[in-house]
């Protein structure tokens, strides 16, 4: 297989790779954003648990 020929796609490489590239880019960006969103949500739950524990510990003393 000739890679140069493959990437040129009959000289229509811009259209083909423009499509596949944007498709891939969107998916990668979405995955990163969702990952960050759930990480942040879990972190805030962890924070609130930690805050709650220290609060009860103080009242116990």
């Amino acid at each position: 297989m000739n890679w140069v020929e493959f990437f040129s796609m009959d000289g229509k490489g811009f259209f083909v790779w423009g499509s596949f590239g944007v498709f891939l880019l969107c998916i990668v960006v979405e995955i990163v954003m969702v990952r960050r969103r759930i990480d942040r949500a879990q972190q805030s739950v962890r924070d609130s648990i930690a805050a709650g524990e220290s609060g009860t510990a103080r009242t116990a003393q």
Binding site: D10, G18, F23, E30, V34, S44, V45, S48
Partner: protein, 244 residues
């Protein structure tokens, strides 16, 4: 198995967590196979040349754009009739992915249209209705984000999607009608039964990959939404899995 058990966020959260890697793996494997078949195995189309390979992502994303809206309409019915919080959360989790697929379908359609029809955009019935579908997604997302009271946002979004889904067939029909009336862009899409089996297979596998990807992302997002809304409740704090 009692399906209603999983309509509670507290029991769905861990289940979704277990399912996400499976869906993600299936999506990845299917995408690799589909792209390999589409880019390397499928022969060149004798009419359109290599450019036709765009349809291996264009058609699956266009399908997903419609399918996700239908799915949201289904969840909207559940949210309004059974008042299940989880259904509304699923709608909120699906909408961004649906909008993204709609935008990709339009983008790839334009890039396919330029070399094939000679124009990036034609007011063709399918492209126009896909554009309107994007507007519907944008309206839903804007409404849900604008309402601060989450309970109200859930119900308002569900009602909007329900009204929108009743309108979708009417919109599609009206746009088709309008298009045939004007005869502006007389475009014949060379698809249908002429397509080789290998092309169809690759397209179906890509559609499956997009579907699995949507499920994985939506489940992941719905987990985040559950935590954001119910982070203060007891069940979240009681299970370690929630925060690990």
């Amino acid at each position: 198995m009692n399906l209603f058990k999983y309509s509670a966020p507290s029991s769905f959260y861990p289940l979704a967590g277990k399912l996400v890697p499976w869906f993600g793996t299936l999506a990845f494997v299917a995408a690799v196979i589909g792209l390999y078949l589409g880019l390397f195995v499928a022969p060149e189309d004798f009419q359109q040349g290599e450019v036709y390979r765009i349809i291996f992502i264009h058609v699956p994303t266009a399908w997903m754009a419609m399918f996700i809206y239908l799915l949201m309409a289904g969840y909207a019915v559940l949210a309004l009739v059974y008042q299940t919080r989880l259904s509304a959360m699923m709608m909120e989790a699906l909408a961004p992915t649906g909008a993204m697929f709609t935008a990709i379908a339009l983008w790839t359609g334009a890039l396919w249209g330029k070399p094939t029809w000679g124009t990036y955009w034609a007011w063709d019935a399918r492209m126009t209705s896909t554009l309107i579908l994007l507007f519907l997604y944008v309206g839903y997302i804007a409404l849900v984000n604008a309402i601060e009271d989450k309970k109200r946002a859930d119900k308002a979004g569900a009602l909007l999607v329900l009204v929108g889904s009743v309108n979708v067939p009417i919109i599609y029909f009206s746009v088709k009608w309008w298009n045939t009336l004007h005869q502006g862009a007389s475009i014949s899409v060379s698809q249908g039964n002429k397509m080789a089996a290998i092309m169809l297979a690759s397209m179906a596998i890509m559609a499956f990959a997009c579907w699995m990807y949507s499920m994985a992302v939506a489940f992941c997002r719905v987990r985040a939404i559950i935590l954001e809304r119910e982070g203060q409740s007891q069940w979240v704090k009681s299970i370690k899995e929630a925060v690990s």
